[in-house]
Subunit: 558 residues, 2 copies
């Protein structure tokens, strides 16, 4: 929560207002709202994945509160690329208003539509490509090719009379990309010549010195590992990383092996990518998983999900001997993927499990089988120098990433007062080349849990943390409504608690005595009696067992 | 749990039996039992720190079960060095039998004794040093200097007529250690000449290629960072890492700054280290924390705990503005420490919090301020070649580390059949130069939680995980014992659950109807009635809300 909440002034005509709703101070749920002339344009609408202090949460959405009453003013949602942290919240936005148009590249929209289908939604879409210009309400949009760890990513320049904003989305500047589709620095240069008033720039790797290595440097490593593999090869990566999968397919084909996709999202995304021409599979290389089992072990590469140790994904199930493919001696497993912070223990458990089964496990810790999808510090410096933007607002990153990115901007000569370190909900107004912070909204986390959206609260999560760390003790007492006399109980039950329930035999008479005393002094209210129970057993547990479980007193009148 | 449990045969006279109770397949709770001629020698007795799937657990102990009835036969516990994963379980062992002698170096024993004092225990101790030989029961012990991330670490050679075992403890081979105390390769060579029959060797970094950099390479980096720091400097590291702290003190002194220790364990350990001559503090450099506050900001370095993001340690509290030292603009924070897998999110939260307060945060991700304490693959190869042991049993590591270490042994020419990949509880007999696996004990995790030891079970942890992910719903119904008729209820309460309790209004009549039907068909038993409640609400919650909380039905007779 921001420390310093204040309302922005009414938006003046001719001023562009920029309000990030997500993605600042966090890696995920990227979403920024642009307002001009009474209309809203949204760039990206992603989800954030929960951390360990948010147990049981499936997804975290941006807080739509500031736009909930203005959905009729939304002229479109630009989706820069097809990753979950940029498109994952679209179904939840469309559930509020289903006819908001989605604007994006061919692959991006195909992935969004597959996702919407799972939610039984259909959307109005506008497919765009690099170089294309579109007027969307009062916003003149210009799309610029960028490369990233998914094909067909776009940056978007937003022109209004208030000035020009360039939002990169996620990007890097691979100078030899597999598909030849460079981040278009000529377009950046041209935008820079004309003047970029505000630059919203990906900060994910701003604290990584130097340059992100080439994606194509991974191919020869995959080739070598597959060439040496005596039996089956299983490669795990992100299910949207088309170029990584392309390199696996090429390395497999070069070594006379066929490839079978494993995992629902891998099959779905690669089918889309091949259909649309982003993935190129030589004839006869792909094979259905069911048929792959009949091939000799040294003739197959399985391309699977689960590179982050997700418990239900293919790779974890293999490690737990809970998958039809039984990994064994001589098999090779390649984790051609990053290791997202927080997933380390899960991933190492998978590596250990597979090693124990006899597999040779190759991962980024022992081979060059992964490169990042984000521009490192060296690349960002190029960007700043080519664009020379008047104002910079680093986005997509935790606070340290935003700070590191602002520092890079300043190193290239952008004044410190023109580099805006914003939070989610920071309201920035742009006019006449001047960008300034004019407000700070109070935004929250919107948790998706099962079929509930936004119903679980931080208080619920705190309860879960206590329950998960300490368990609970419930005490049930049935009392006579008129006299307060105990009819039944106290019964004491504990779950997730170290002791046998018999340990409570000791405290039951104390609870009964405390209740009797309270009843004798005239207390009848069950809530007040519950508090007596809570205090009595709480103190006892704390002193006797040095524990602080949740205490759930249930005093019932009969 | 090992898959293949079988009892070893009775131990033959003249055979040495080696049984690791902890530290294999995990990083922590190192403990190995040696049996010869009816007597037991223990090497190390450490704790393991819990992972996220073991919520609320404070510590995990080795399973003492195999020696519980043989404590009278234990002739001593050799402690190789003073880290928690080698000494932390000593108090729990001594609580079973308080007069088991402890054998270790001066610093190691001092740290153990400080720990025992907190448990109100005192121990019999024997202080040894490198080069020393001691007969302990039927075991002839010979202590060998090794270096590690704590001073005064020892390897131990165990000679019996059955053969010679060398156990390294944790070690690396820093060739220019700060204290000049090299891992004694001359002693290794001499042991090798005489013949090492079984080599128990640290595997922690066996999968890291190359060589661990020199500890002293960190000094100049610390010096540069401190020299450039405009205001206060706060350095966080492990509270037992004497040489790291030494380098901080030296860099502080070189820059005209004084040093204050922060955090209970830092103060305690550094007091011990200085008293015993392991830490050398120039006159007038140390200053009490209370007095340090009066110094100018550019004249102080705080040396603190909390480098792993532990929520109650100094550094986390600073990041949360919950410490007397309010970190602000111009302050420099150095995390001169490793990043233990599983702690990433907590550490990054601390880094982010401090950055947000204005501090410049230096850590191993952006500067060379940490080196490991364990031998990497290159160093291990030296060891194998100098020792040429007949048999090798990699210890101290997860499965992948043990495998990587065995592979290194084999690369130097040790036959695969002589490299033993053991688990906790694997029983290995050594006689006449032959080591073989003769049994596999079933050992468990012993959880410490508050004042309870070994009372919490894996089932309790499973309950906690469910509670922590999903919360619980309790349903209370008071029924007439004779008729089964409902007197009060159903009352439904939920905690850690997404919905408001009013959502249950819908299901209460269903529960009442199900109970009435059961009562009418003659069911009276409260357990059976509870199951009716559980099924009714469980199905409803799952279908209606797509959730699977713990259901706690409480049917009470009155």
């Amino acid at each position: 929560m921001p420390t310093n909440v204040y309302d922005p002034p009414a938006l003046e005509r001719g001023t562009l207002r920029v309000t990030p709703l997500g993605g600042l101070g966090e890696i995920g749920r990227n979403m920024t709202v642009f307002e001009y002339d009474g209309k809203l344009l949204i760039v990206d609408c992603g989800v954030l994945f929960p951390e360990e202090h948010q147990p049981g949460v499936d997804l975290i959405l941006p807080d739509f509160e500031p736009i909930k009453n203005r959905l009729d003013d939304v002229v479109g949602v630009v989706l820069t690329h097809g990753h979950e942290d940029h498109i994952g919240a679209v179904p939840y936005l469309l559930k509020l208003k289903s006819d908001i148009p989605l604007i994006g590249s061919k692959l991006t929209l195909a992935l969004v539509e597959a996702k919407l289908k799972e939610h039984r939604l259909k959307a109005y879409t506008l497919t765009v490509e690099e170089g294309q210009e579109e007027q969307v309400g009062p916003f003149d949009l210009e799309f610029v090719a960028v490369n990233h760890s998914i094909p067909d990513a776009l940056a978007v320049a937003i022109h209004t009379d208030a000035g020009t904003v360039l939002a990169t989305g996620d990007f890097k500047m691979d100078q030899l990309p597999l598909d030849g589709r460079l981040t278009d620095l000529r377009a950046f240069a041209s935008l820079g010549e004309d003047g970029v008033d505000l630059f919203l720039v990906d900060s994910t790797n701003a604290d990584v010195p130097g340059f992100t290595p080439l994606e194509r440097a991974i191919g020869p490593v995959l080739d070598q590992v597959i060439a040496k593999a005596p039996r089956r090869v299983i490669v795990a990566s992100f299910s949207s990383h088309v170029h990584r999968v392309q390199q696996v397919i090429d390395a497999a084909a070069a070594n006379g092996r066929r490839v079978a996709f494993l995992g629902r999202s891998m099959v779905r995304n690669m089918t889309i990518a091949e259909d649309l021409g982003y993935l190129h599979v030589p004839d006869g290389v792909l094979i259905d998983y069911e048929k792959a089992k009949d091939l000799p072990d040294d003739k197959i590469v399985y391309m699977s999900t689960g590179s982050q140790g997700e418990p239900m994904a293919v790779l974890s199930r293999m490690a737990n001997i809970d998958h039809a493919i039984e990994v064994g001696e001589g098999d090779t497993v390649i984790l051609a993927s990053s290791l997202i912070p927080g997933n380390e223990n899960a991933v190492y458990r998978v590596i250990d499990g597979l090693t124990k089964l006899g597999a040779n496990v190759v991962h980024k810790g022992n081979a060059k089988v992964h490169v990042s999808g984000h521009a490192a510090a060296g690349e960002l410096l190029y960007c700043y120098n080519i664009l020379q933007p008047r104002n910079v607002m680093p986005v997509h990153g935790e606070y340290r990433h935003l700070m590191a990115n602002a520092k890079l901007a300043q190193d290239t000569g952008i004044p410190a007062e023109n580099t805006i370190i914003a939070e989610n909900g920071t309201v920035v107004d742009l006019r006449g080349g001047v960008a300034k912070v004019v407000g700070q909204l109070a935004l929250g986390f919107v948790y998706v849990d099962g079929s509930s959206v936004g119903e679980i609260t931080d208080a619920d999560l705190k309860d879960r943390r206590i329950l998960g760390e300490e368990g609970f003790i419930s005490v049930i007492v049935v009392v006579d409504a008129a006299t307060g006399r105990i009819i039944t109980g106290p019964e004491v039950h504990a779950r997730g608690f170290a002791e046998d329930d018999s340990v409570f035999d000791d405290v039951k008479p104390k609870i009964a005595a405390a209740l009797t005393e309270a009843a004798q002094s005239g207390v009848r209210d069950t809530h007040a009696l519950s508090q007596v129970v809570r205090r009595t057993i709480g103190r006892w547990v704390n002193q006797r067992l040095r524990r602080r479980p949740m205490i759930v007193p249930l005093v019932i009148e009969a």
